[in-house]
């Protein structure tokens, strides 16, 4: 038997997205060419841009297609930082919460190392919630020196949903641009870019100006993502060339992948209400059953205000890699949730930021659900779990 419970890593491609991809493959033509072949390819891309704009609540011109979430995040952080510093050399601070994804952490650390960025770290609490008071204090203290604020909409490891509009309002109030990493949120939380801008009082380059998404997290073919960039944002491009996409992201547009992502977004959006309710019910039942089966297991992240597809527990005395191996041997694919280096599970930096010690941070399992998840799959996992935990306890920890 097989149970795939790692949708937060990558979710299976939706059939509609596969069809959109293969349909697009038969077209000849570069979307930037002026002849009819080119125009046909361009039509696919612009249809996709409109679809995606509808789903995320922005204008089509504000959708910049990229190669995925990591590129979107790099473009947002490096692009906003360089534009801010170019305008005012004193604006070299980046406000960043401690429990961000590595795509963010490694990028801001690189900017610190190579381009003189000063990092203002914002702590998270025991449930992974951003300390909004600390963030507000930071903006009040250093607002005129801040190049940008960046944050995860929802934590990819522990699922905690952040107070996005509240933080967007703080950014707007302090005249600082905000980037939101919505890679894990898309498809699980309704997103409306323009509405957040309006409600939080964003004007020009202040407040929410950029938002990252990644196609393979919601059923597109992999290798495609988008950065929503407000038309009023000040942002420098990373990739130079043919000047495509407002000059913010040069390079021949990948019409098949872009079509695939847009169709996946439409299908996800259309099914949202029903799917959200279904996932919530599966998620909460799973959390309850894990607690009943393994009373020592501790739920990580906000118990209520969390992604509908995220279950994350620490298993005291167990090491994640043992659990992962044992479950994998029984056909169940889950994740430690944390980043890997050469396949080695590192202690989760998210759990460390939430106040756990190294041993606890190395004992986590993330079970993430998605559009193909069934109760039968979860039962496979739940059947395998107690024995896996018992054996992992015997194997002990090497951390």
């Amino acid at each position: 038997m097989v149970a795939y419970l790692d949708h937060a890593a990558s979710t299976p491609v939706r059939p509609e997205a596969t069809k959109a991809f293969t349909d697009a493959l038969v077209h000849a033509g570069n979307p930037s060419s002026v002849h009819r072949h080119g125009q046909a390819a361009r039509a696919l891309v612009e249809d996709a841009r409109e679809y995606l704009a509808t789903v995320v609540g922005c204008q089509p011109i504000e959708v910049i297609f990229t190669s995925g979430g990591t590129e979107s995040i790099n473009l947002a952080l490096v692009g906003l930082f360089r534009a801010a510093v170019e305008k005012d050399a004193k604006r070299n601070r980046i406000v960043v919460p401690e429990a961000e994804h590595h795509a963010t952490l490694d990028t801001v650390l690189w900017l610190q190392e190579h381009e003189g960025a000063v990092l203002e770290w914002i702590p998270v609490d025991k449930q992974g919630r951003i300390d909004v008071v600390e963030l507000q204090d930071t903006l009040e203290r250093a607002g005129t020196a801040v190049a940008l604020v960046t944050m995860l909409w929802a934590n990819n490891e522990v699922g905690t949903i952040q107070p996005v509009t509240e933080i967007a309002a703080l950014a707007a109030e302090h005249q600082v641009p905000l980037h939101i990493d919505a890679v894990s949120a898309f498809g699980h939380i309704p997103i409306n870019f323009a509405q957040i801008r309006t409600e939080s009082g964003a004007t020009g380059n202040a407040g929410l100006v950029a938002l990252s998404i990644s196609g393979h997290k919601f059923g597109s073919v992999p290798g495609v993502g988008a950065l929503v960039v407000s038309r009023e944002a000040l942002l420098e491009p990373l990739i130079h060339g043919g000047g495509q996409q407002r000059g913010l992201r040069s390079g021949t547009l990948d019409a098949p992948a872009i079509s695939s992502m847009a169709i996946a977004a439409l299908v996800t959006d259309k099914a949202f209400e029903q799917e959200h309710a279904r996932l919530l019910s599966l998620r909460d039942a799973t959390i309850g059953k894990i607690q009943a089966l393994v009373p020592s297991a501790v739920l990580s992240g906000d118990p209520q205000n969390r992604l509908d597809n995220n279950v994350n527990f620490t298993f005291p005395g167990c090491q994640s890699d043992s659990l992962l191996f044992l479950l994998d041997a029984m056909g169940v694919s889950v994740s430690t949730g944390s980043a890997c280096q050469a396949g080695v599970a590192q202690p989760s930096h998210v759990l460390l930021a939430m106040g756990h010690d190294e041993r606890e941070a190395s004992s986590a399992l993330r079970i993430s659900l998605g559009h193909t998840t069934t109760q039968e799959e979860l039962d496979e996992f739940l059947d395998a779990l107690p024995d896996a935990v018992e054996r992992a306890l015997q194997a002990g920890t090497t951390v």
């Binding site: 191996f325 044992l326 041997a329 280096q341 050469a342 054996r391 002990g396 090497t398 951390v399």
Partner: protein, 364 residues
């Protein structure tokens, strides 16, 4: 699976023998290098990818298990501490003793495995009563039984060495190529895996610091100064920079390193000829010798690639004493002596005391 050709072929043979095999790569550093450099064949991300590729080709699952903390405390820190104490440790042996056939084996057994299978060249065979014995590999040149001398009966019972009866490494490479394993022509690894550039002396100096000290003769007379004890080896002749020649005009060699006084002792070549070695820290590999208080005939080997020397051994008051038929050369305290009977590994001990032909006793 280190990412090298030996473990890849060992895994292939285990699969072919019908075992349910899982590939495991040991992460021994939290900050592995990206690319392989020089002659090393493990421990970088590239090596881990090589191991994974081999596992994929064999159709077996593959995982990386993190033993970096244990490796640091049991092997790397131990290596530094031993050098600081003036002894010459063998980290590969220590890794077999503490990591591969201890931490890894315990974890594997707890997770439901029966054995740890490696690409070591050695053989585990039962004696007439069914007790397991460790024997040298068929190919003398590749034999690695020395570094496995620390294994006990329990560990032998859970160890598999499918390469032990292969006549040569070339055949292993040919077999790897035939099986389509991309590591077939990957160079062998040498030296110490955690010292990436092979500069043991520089590596130790960075960690223990070095201070100038005296070079003295066996009488304690100062003959010169050295820049720091790390990196000196027993038997070393070059690089001593002693101005005054010996009275007899013959070259002098490092006889002993005394870290506590930061002193290097030098003397004539004959003082390196060791006629007795002994240590209290010993283990039997498999069944113990019967009545070890009575002298028994063995062969003794004091380095991974040294020739074995006929000797007699006996246990005296808790100390295993070995007297070679011909003097051993350049023996350092801290080295492991493995004793054999024929091809069988009988046991091993850490050399704590040596007696030279000139009756100079050194202890550490």
């Amino acid at each position: 699976m280190s990412g090298g050709v030996d473990s890849a072929v060992a895994a292939a043979r285990a699969v072919e023998a019908g075992h349910d095999v899982v590939g495991v790569h040991l992460a021994l550093s939290r900050m592995p290098g990206t690319l392989r450099t020089g002659a090393r064949g493990c421990c970088t991300i590239e090596d881990s990818m090589d191991a994974q590729r081999a596992a994929t080709m064999l159709g077996i699952p593959y995982y990386v298990w993190d033993f970096s903390e244990r490796f640091k405390s049991d092997v790397v820190d131990d290596f530094i501490a031993e050098y600081q104490a003036g002894r010459t440790p063998n980290p590969c042996m220590r890794c077999n003793e503490k990591i591969k056939f201890a931490a890894l084996m315990e974890k594997a057994i707890a997770l439901g495995f029966d054995a740890v299978c490696t690409g070591h060249y050695a053989n585990v065979v039962p004696d007439v009563n069914g007790n397991l014995e460790l024997h040298r590999a068929s190919a003398w040149a590749k034999d690695q039984s020395y570094v496995l001398g620390v294994l006990t009966s329990d560990q032998l019972a859970h160890a598999m060495f499918p390469l032990g009866d292969t006549p040569s490494k070339d055949l292993i490479r040919a077999e790897a190529a035939e099986r389509g394993l991309s590591v077939a022509q990957k160079p062998d690894s040498h030296d110490i895996c955690f010292i990436p550039d092979g500069d043991t002396r520089g590596w130790l100096a960075d960690r223990v610091g070095i201070t100038e000290g005296d070079i003295v003769d066996t009488e304690g007379n100062k003959l010169g100064t050295h820049e720091g004890t790390p990196g000196f080896t027993i038997g070393q002749r070059k690089g001593l920079h002693i101005g005054t020649p010996a009275p007899d005009g013959l070259p002098r060699f490092v006889l002993e390193i005394r870290p506590k006084t930061n002193t290097v002792v030098v003397g004539p070549k004959e003082a390196l000829d060791i006629i007795e070695i002994a240590g209290t820290s010993f283990t039997w590999c498999g069944e113990p010798q019967e009545n070890p208080e009575n002298e028994f005939d063995v062969e003794v080997q004091i380095r991974a690639h040294a020739d074995p020397v006929p000797a007699v051994a006996l246990l005296v008051g808790g100390e295993l004493v070995v007297r070679p038929a011909n003097p051993l050369n350049s023996v350092a305290a801290g080295q492991t002596a493995v004793i054999y009977v024929g091809t069988r590994v009988l046991g091993q001990f850490t050399i704590a005391r040596t007696v030279s032909d000139l009756n100079v006793v050194a202890t550490a």
